[in-house]
Structures are given as C-alpha cells and as structure tokens.
C-alpha cells in the first residue's frame, strides 16, 4: 500500500516536556485519517511538525516515500501539504479571490489579473462542490463559507494532503453535514485528509482509519469500521468511559430558585426574556434546552446580577435576587460556571491560585484586615487542584497556560467548593473532550445528590437529556414546555426548541 505521508516515531520536546513522544502516523492515499486525542494530548503539535512550524527532535517524515526535511510552511506547501486552520487566517475586508491569491498573485505586466484568478477559483470551487462566490467579501459570508475559502486556498496552492484542525468547532449542525460531504468530494478527487478532532461521532461518520494519541504518546492506529465509539473513547482517555451518565432517581425537595414573570432586555433595549417562569428545586437538575439566542444569556446574567431586570422576581430560598449586586448574589448562595470561561470565568493572567479565590479573596482566611494571606490561598488552591484533578504545573502557573478542560475543572472546583445552594452551569462542557465531559457531568450530579439545586444551560440536546432531571425548553424568551427526559424524544424537543408549540404533527403548519 502506498503512503502519501508518513510520520515515523516523531518526538518533540519543549524544555524537558515531551509534547510528542514516539508517534507514528501513516496516511494512505485517498483516505480520511482521523487524529484523535484529548485537549492537550499533542495533536496540534504533531500537525505543526508536519506543517513545518516545529522541528522534531527525533523521527523521520516521508512524503510519497521520500524522506523530507520540512523546515518551514513554504516547504510543506511545495510538498502539497495544506492546512485548514481552526482559527481562519483570512483578511476580513478582502474578497474570497483576493484572500486566496494573497502572497501568490498572478500578474499581467505588474497588474494583478483578478479576472483570471476568479475564473480559476470558480473552477476549483465547482470541481469540489464548494459553491463559493469568488467575488464575495469575507466579512459578508458565513463561518461555514469562510472555512470553505480556507479549503479553496489550500487547493489553489496545489495541496494533495489537507489537514483539518478541529474543523467543526465553530460550525452549525447543518454546516457540519455539508463539510462532511465536501470531505467525501475531496477524497473522490484523489486528495488525502488528516482530520484532527476529539469528536467521536465525526470520526465514525467520515474517517477510514484513526490514530490515537494520549498525553503526547502514540497509542496506535485502528480501522474505523472495526472499532466503536466506546473503544475509541477508552483508547483516548486510557480508561473505560461511560456515555450514558450514571445517576440515581432525583429526590427533589422544596423550591430553591423561583422565577416569576421575568422580563430582561438586552443592550439594545429589546426584551430577550419575556415573562419567563421557572422553578428549580433542591436536589434537582433542571436543564434548559434551546437554540442559542433565545434569551439564555440574558436569563443567566439576570440571575447572577450582571444585568438589570425590567420586571418580575427572582427568588432563591426566600431572598429576592433581582437587581442585586453580583457579590450579594454570590454570598446568598449562587455558584456560576459561566458560558465564556475566558471572559467571565477566569483572569487568565492570574495564577491558578489567585483564580481559585476570585470571589472569596476578601474573606477569612484568605484575607484579614485588608491584608492577603497567600499561604492560605496556596493551600486552598492545592486542595482544588488535588480534588478536581486540575492538571497544572502548580498553583503559580498562569490560568492562561492550562488547557480548556483544566481551566473548566478549576472553575468548577472553585464554584462547587463554595457549596452554593444553586449552581448555574452554562455550556459547561463546550469544547471539552469525552473524559472532561464525563468528569463535569459527575460533579453536577454529585452536587444534586448533596441536596443542591442545579440549573444547566446547554445547546447540546444529548447533554440536556443525559444530565437533567427536568427539561425546560426555552424559545423566544419563554419556557414553552417542561418535560421529564424519559418522556421526551430528541425529535419532540427539537421541534419545541424551534418554536413548534403543541403536537409535532400540527407543527408543520406554523
């Protein structure tokens, strides 16, 4: 069998730390080869080695059977290796064609021949079914379309091997389907693909073979249709993973959070939460299912004190929280795992230790008489690192340096350790791998089992159905339905989330 690209026993060190250790990846011509690993396992490092951004300490790279030295990305380009980056490298106010030819402009007597280039771009787009308008301006087109421009860019430069780095991270479900289709087209035209991802369903859907790496080490390569998501997951994290979250029946108690007729406006003074009613009981997880932009953010901000309410009440165990300060609300017993962990959850330039006391730094034992006691902060931080398995070099490391999953564990540790009566978890597993997701779900359920109220907001139906005891569907700023997960199907919930109230049969008329 002929291999297009072979990376043999690659090792890459940063200081004394092995980011890649003895990894072998062999890409056959015409296959989709998935590269699977947890966040921080070393997938991106390996691909950056192939793309010429890093030089490996050990190992050899062969392209079409010939040993090569890829010293920089230009050499990778010349060898026919193209990368579709996770964060697009596009100039927003230039057109599709201008972006594609950037740095490689075809000229006619010193003038850029844009017509010629547009024609060529249109041809390639046609060939692979990309449906990109060559003269559209980047800032006017959707994220999915921008990604196709990235794909076009590599093809225009003659790529035979395409590396996709977490390509579905910012796409809608429909765009993901379309991308999968495009990948098949590419394969049909004789290209080969390396797909970096930690999403198992994508791997099952589109790949031929999978190479798994764990903590920087190559675990092996398996053929996709002889494997299963369960096997891949356990290979990736190094232990058995349960997909169905284990939990006992909930024993809900008194009402904890009681929201009545809540109205909240966004920054443009448009009502986003409209007369919303919601109750969460002690010992219960209520999951809010809904499509992004139906008032979830404004609802959370109102409960946590970051946004003023227009009218209505928010009560927690007898206290009125509406329009209170964030500190007062925190002290009343609300914990919050925010939607955007970099913006609201952490001070990235602060150490892990400082972040662990971000809300409690002013209390004893962390400070007394206005003077901080950093010994106590360290002690506390180490407890959280230990108990919540935060993988870090220590409490002095900056939060910025942690992987997404570990940042999230740090936040959860901080919030849960305050033992809040109500824990709000907004998209707590976004961007995390299976192992971290499992850990976080367990912690939410544990909190419930300790008799606390948990409010989960998620855009992933799987998550809401798996973890919640009660599902509240939000649409256009209102809770349109409240169901038990065992009484609902994904189809029904999907229709409710799209605003089809009542029986699904009648829904089509709306």
């Amino acid at each position: 069998m002929e291999y297009v690209v072979e990376m043999l026993n690659i090792s890459k060190k940063f200081g004394n730390f092995y980011a890649n250790k003895n990894i072998t990846l062999q890409l056959k011509k015409g296959e989709v080869h998935a590269l699977l690993g947890e966040n921080g396992a070393g997938k991106s490092t390996l691909m950056n080695v192939l793309f010429g951004l890093y030089q490996p300490e050990e190992g050899t790279i062969k392209v079409r059977g010939k040993e090569v030295d890829i010293a920089n990305p230009n050499i990778a380009n010349d060898l026919g290796i193209g990368m579709v980056h996770q964060h697009f490298m596009l100039v927003e106010n230039l057109t599709v064609t201008e972006n594609i030819i950037l740095g490689n402009e075809p000229t006619k007597m010193g003038v850029i021949n844009i017509k010629e280039a547009e024609k060529k771009v249109a041809e390639i787009s046609e060939l692979y079914g990309l449906a990109v308008d060559p003269s559209a301006v980047i800032e006017d087109i959707s994220v999915g379309m921008q990604q196709r421009v990235e794909i076009l860019k590599t093809l225009y430069r003659g790529a035979e091997v395409l590396i996709f780095d977490e390509p579905t991270a910012s796409l809608t479900p429909q765009e993901i389907d379309e991308l999968m289709h495009i990948m098949k087209n590419l394969i049909d035209e004789g290209k080969s693909i390396i797909l970096i991802t930690h999403k198992l369903n994508e791997i099952m859907a589109v790949s031929d073979r999978v190479t798994i790496i764990r903590k920087g080490e190559g675990i092996g390569t398996v053929t996709t249709d002889q494997s299963s998501p369960e096997e891949l997951a356990s290979l990736m994290v190094g232990r058995q993973v349960t997909f169905k979250t284990e939990k006992t029946e909930a024993t809900p108690g008194e009402v904890a959070l009681d929201i009545q007729n809540l109205v909240v406006e966004d920054n443009r003074k448009i009502a986003k939460v409209k007369n919303l009613n919601l109750q969460v009981r002690y010992g219960e997880i209520v999951g809010i299912a809904g499509i992004d932009g139906n008032g979830q953010s404004e609802l959370i901000e109102a409960i946590t004190g970051l946004r003023k309410t227009k009218s209505g009440t928010i009560r927690l165990g007898g206290h009125d929280l509406a329009n209170e300060s964030p500190r007062k609300i925190t002290e009343t017993g609300v914990g919050h795992i925010p939607q955007d962990r970099h913006k609201h959850g952490l001070v990235l330039n602060f150490s892990v230790g400082y972040n662990s006391v971000l809300q409690t730094y002013y209390k004893q034992p962390f400070s007394k008489g206005g003077i901080m006691n950093y010994k106590e902060v360290s002690k506390f931080a180490n407890e959280i690192i230990e108990e919540y398995d935060v993988r870090t070099q220590g409490e002095h490391e900056l939060a910025r340096a942690l992987s997404g999953g570990n940042q999230q564990k740090l936040i959860i540790g901080r919030e849960v350790s305050r033992d809040p009566d109500l824990l709000i978890a907004a998209l707590p597993t976004r961007g995390l791998d299976v192992g971290a997701i499992e850990f976080i779900h367990k912690r939410l359920i544990e909190q419930r089992d300790n008799g606390k109220a948990v409010l989960l907001i998620s855009f992933e139906l799987d998550e809401v159905m798996n973890v919640s005891d009660t599902i509240a569907v939000i649409y256009d700023g209102q809770i349109v339905s409240t169901v038990k997960p065992q009484d609902a199907t994904e189809q029904q919930l999907g229709l409710l989330m799209a605003g089809h109230v009542g029986n699904s049969e009648e829904g089509d008329r709306l």
Binding site: R327, H344, G345, V347, S351, Y361, S367, M372
Partner: protein, 349 residues
C-alpha cells in the same frame, strides 16, 4: 515565577546599555566630537565627586515617584498621561502648606507631603470618575488636565503670593537636610529619596500583599471576570487613578519641599511627568523595576549636563546620545530574542 531572575535578566540590560553607548559614541565621533571625553564627562557628571553624586540622587527621587504613578495605573489597566499635571498641583499644595502654616516639623512635614499626595489624587479623581461612569478614555482627559493644571497653578501662585513666586517654605516643612548637604559637598540632596524609596515599598506591598491590590490587579487584567466575581469595577478604576495621582503629587513635593522650597510661575511643563512614562516602561511596571529605571534615567539626565562644559559636546548631541541609550534599554526585547537564538544554536550543536 521562579525563573524571573536569571542570568538573562542582568545580561540583557547590560548589553543594551553597552550597545547604546557604542552607537552614541559613533554619533559623537561622526559629529566631530571626542566620544571618550564625552563619556568621561558623563561619568564624572554622575559619580565624579560627592557633589555630583548628591545631585544625581536628588534628581532620581522625583523620577521614581513619577514612574510609580504611571506604573501603578498601568498595572490596573489604566494609562495615566496626567502625571505632569498631578505633579504640578502636588508641588503647589506642598509649597502652600509649607508657607501658610507654622507647625512643629513632626506635624508640618507629613502634613505638607499629605497635601501634595491629596492634591495629585484629587486631580486624578476626575479622569477616573469620567472613565468609570461615562467610559471617557482617560488618556484624553489626563492630557487635557495637564494644561489645566499648568495654568491653574500659575493663577494660584499669583493669587496666593501676589507675585510670580511663592515665599520659601518654613523649615518645619522642609525635606532639606544640612547633614546630607554637608556629606555631599553642599549639593541640594534632601530627604526626598527616602520618601521615594518608602513609596516603592508601599506600592509593592499594596499590589502584592493587600486585598485592594488583588482587586486592582484583577480589574486591570479582566474587568468582566472581576465584575462577575463581585468586585466593584467602577470603584477600582477611581481608586487606582487616585493612588496613581497621589504618587505624582508626591513627585511634586520633592521639588516644593526639597529641591526648591517654593514654586514659581511657569510657561512650560517640568517634563518629569512625561519621563515617568518611560521610567515605568523601562521598569516593566514593577516597583523595583521603576526604581532601577529611575536610577538610569535620573543619572543620565543629570550627568549629561556636564558634557557640554567638560567635553564640549553640544547639548543637542547629548540629547541624542541619551535618547539612544534609553532606546536600547527599552528595546531589550530584541536582545533577548537574539540571546535565545544563540542559545538554541548552541543546544543544537
């Protein structure tokens, strides 16, 4: 955190200074002046005798305080360009309290220092308030407040003394020290440098050891997360500007209670406030860094005054040479990258 101090952190500034001196020498040589003679004059201007050393240390003190003012605001996410104006109002307040009251030293001197700090803080309060409540950018407001300060202070001098200059302050409010003057061959060295060093320690303590410091730094790095964590972001912005202004006011007190003992009407800024920006950036906005930055800045500024007289290098060339040295220190990044490349090559071999 541990690796903060290694051989590089000393090597980089050293190489920078040497490079700056070399290029400065080339400039002097190309302009037809004796570079060696020029640098000997610079050296003598700084360390030549007790008098020069006294004057150098005296010059460093206001630079430390102006540097702290800029650095403190910077650490909390604010850019205080108004140090110059805050310094002027502080200078006037110090001189006013120094001349108006007659009190025992133990009360009078602290009171005069406090008045200077309070005046600076008050002058910085307004930009802080505007930033916190109306999101008016502090750079614009502080720059404009500088001009207002210059002319308001001129008017206040005239109104309070009837002439272009206030009376000299009472001895009980003075930072002057016959002991230090004697020690340094009758230079104008005064106790101000002790105040400045105390403030270096104060800033370190405030940022690294207190609850307020924790909040100020958090807000500076990420105001969203700080607000979410229950901190009062608006209050922190105002407090930060006022503390910064307080440092600037004390820089003014160095002149009002130490070097001059009075304040005169002026048509132009002192420049110390603006140099404070460079000092803060040289010192990477840390208190100890500001101390070193101020020592470098103050020494060069004072020592270079000796170059026209002793070596015949015109003041214009001197300014270029000094600017080059500071430029190279500030661009230490280039040297750091160079050193890293060198050590990488060594490793590869």
């Amino acid at each position: 955190m541990k690796s903060k101090f290694n051989s590089k952190s000393i090597l980089v500034p050293l190489i920078s200074i040497v490079l700056g001196l070399l290029i400065g020498a080339i400039i002097m040589w190309l302009s037809g002046y004796d570079a060696i003679k020029g640098y000997v004059a610079l050296w003598n201007g700084i360390f030549g005798d007790a008098y020069a050393m006294g004057e150098t240390v005296r010059q460093i003190a206001p630079y430390i305080l102006a540097g702290l003012a800029v650095a403190f605001a910077f650490r909390t996410g604010l850019f205080n360009i108004g140090v110059e104006g805050q310094l002027l109002v502080g200078w006037f307040a110090a001189a006013y309290v120094g001349t108006t009251f007659e009190l025992p030293t133990i009360i009078h001197l602290p009171l005069a220092l406090l008045a200077a700090a309070a005046a600076g803080a008050l002058w910085a309060f307004l930009p802080g308030l505007l930033k916190a409540t109306l999101q008016v950018h502090e750079v614009i407001v502080t720059i404009m407040m500088n001009y207002i300060a210059l002319h308001v202070v001129n008017a206040l001098i005239k109104a309070s003394s009837g002439t272009y200059k206030t009376e000299t302050i009472h001895d009980s409010a003075s930072l002057r020290s016959p002991f230090l003057e004697q020690l340094t061959d009758y230079s104008t060295l005064h106790y101000g440098f002790i105040v400045a060093i105390l403030m270096v320690i104060f800033m370190w303590f405030l940022l690294e050891r207190t609850k307020t410091g924790f909040e100020l730094k958090a807000v500076g790095f990420n105001d969203h997360a700080s607000q979410y964590a229950g901190m009062n972001v608006k209050k922190n912005i105002i407090v930060s500007m006022m503390i910064s202004g307080g440092f600037a006011g004390l820089a003014g007190a160095m002149e009002g209670l130490g070097t001059f003992g009075y304040i005169t009407e002026s048509t132009d800024f002192t420049g110390i406030g603006f140099d404070g920006i460079a000092v803060a950036l040289l010192g990477a906005n840390t208190p100890i860094g500001v101390l070193f930055g101020a020592i470098l800045f103050g020494s060069l500024k004072y020592g270079s005054l000796n170059m026209p007289n002793a070596a015949g290098v015109p003041i214009e060339i001197v300014s270029i040479v000094i600017a080059l040295i500071i430029f190279f220190v500030a661009s230490g990044y280039i040297i750091r990258v160079f050193l890293e490349k060198m050590s990488k090559k060594k490793e590869a071999k």
